[in-house]
Amino acid sequence: MFLKSIRLTNFRNQSDVGFEFSPSVNIFVGQNGIGKTNLAEAIYYLCFLKSFRTSSEEFVLQKDKNHFNVTGNFGFEEGGNSEVILIYKKGEGKKISQNHKVVNRFSEFIGSHPCVCLTPDDIQISNGSPSGRRKFIDVVISQTSKIYLDSLIRYNKIIKQKNKLLSEFEPKKIDDFLDPWDEELSSYCFEIIRRRKDFLKKISTELSDFYNKLSGGKEEITVSYESSLEFTETQQDIYNELVRKRRIEKARKSSVFGIHRDDVSFKLSGYAARGFASQGQHKTLILALKLSEINFLKNEMLESPIAIFDDVFSELDSSRIGEFFKLVGDKTQIFVTTTHEFENLETEKRIFRI
């Protein structure tokens, strides 16, 4: 899949602009604060219907305006086009249409325009807290599976209901009340863990390969799922453990076992990345992870994803960047933002001076 063109109105500092893109590499060049990340954000909006840097459209809306628009035209490898129109109006929220049909449930749209995005903040996937790693895998898998996204949404609703019970009621009285929620929770928990492990298994070999290609070294990268639950082979295992550990949750008045507390561990030659790896190793790991993510989406979906790299190549020279683009592969359309021109970059590219 590739994005042929985009048009923005009142989007951050852009009052009204349009771009026609190359199906290969597109580079936005310009000094800091000029609006490059804003463009990357707009492209991301067309795939995820939200921003990667804020959850509130208020910030995206240009100052003193009452609406913003993003319109994108995509072409599919399998044939056909998709016109995505996103309109935000102050006080009314977002409305989305695809090929002139209204998108009622955003969750049904996710995955129809696969996308991989890397921003400087993503370093947290490697050196930050577990929530960043969970979000990373959830965004990837949700694009490939409606059941996964639906299970996540439902899981989170159940956790809210369960936490209400745990926080407000006498611990002695609530076992009967908790029970149906734990049973329901265990079915989604099982489904989500199964798919998260499957994803990690599918990327694990490639992750090492990509890492060593980027670093020129010979390290073994391992990735493993670390659940807050001990037994996750079957739904019944999970349910039984939730029941067994109920007294802990009752004492803490909050739900502390399940996929909302799980983590992923990355190890470099046996050492946990978080805490041990150098800044450079973290960066290489994240680049390798994004390459694996691109390949995973290519394999799982009919369309290859588009890839957005926002301000992440400042320390690489042009030949390294060229090699990186080769690893991404020529089927994947790339958007890059940078403050400095990539001198002598041989890759076929279109440059936009912002």
């Binding site: 209901q161 369960k162 019970l165 407000e168 009340f177 929620w181």
Partner: protein, 196 residues
């Protein structure tokens, strides 16, 4: 607004309390009513009051009805050995339209939801259990396929299962995350046929 027309404002405010009606739509409706013939407006007003005066809930199944017990509960041709449990009276209309179900109903009055203060005691579950003393040998759980509806079904299947009655759940064939209200009749009919 810089000027106030009291009776119009009152109408707008009352209309805006209806579900799915915002301030703008309420205004449009109010101006429409203002232009409508008096006799037609009178008919609407009468219908509003009449529904409140004449429609009550059935003391057996808690369906909405003008007679007590309701027409389903008193119909001799309905199968008294099966009770289909739903959340709201509107769910019964949807199921009746499929023409697939010939048993009786029981309306819970909602679904379990600690966040909105709905517990097993607030639902008509005790009343359902007391109906089991009759000829009932199967309960079909047709709560909505929302997380709350599912939790309610799980709670009921355990509670009723312990009392030795056969409990089945219809959910398969319904769209994920969907609502019984939105399920089309074909999928709903299939769901009844495939219940496990």
């Amino acid at each position: 607004m810089s000027y106030q027309i009291n009776s119009l404002n009152q109408l707008i405010e009352n209309l805006a309390k209806l579900p799915g009606i915002g301030k703008k739509t309420a205004q449009r409706l109010a101006f429409f009513i203002l232009k409508t013939e008096r006799s037609e407006v009178m008919e609407l007003a009468k219908a509003l009051v009449s529904v409140k005066d004449n429609v009550k809930s059935c003391s057996v199944c808690f369906n909405i009805t003008e007679t007590d017990p309701c027409e389903v509960c008193t119909n001799p041709r309905r199968d008294k050995s099966i009770i289909c449990v739903v959340e709201e009276p509107s769910n019964i209309l949807t199921i009746e339209r499929t023409n697939e179900f010939r048993g009786l109903y029981h309306v819970l009055g909602g679904a379990l939801s600690p966040l909105t203060g709905v517990s097993p005691d607030t639902l008509k579950i005790r009343e359902l259990i007391s109906r089991l003393e009759g000829d009932v040998n199967e309960i079909i759980l047709a709560t909505n396929p929302t997380v709350e509806g599912e939790a309610t079904a799980i709670y009921l299947s355990k509670t009723l299962g312990n009392l030795g009655v056969k409990v089945t759940r219809i959910a398969r064939g319904l769209p994920m995350g969907g609502d019984i209200e939105y399920a089309d009749e074909v999928t709903l009919a299939k769901a009844f046929a495939n219940r496990s």
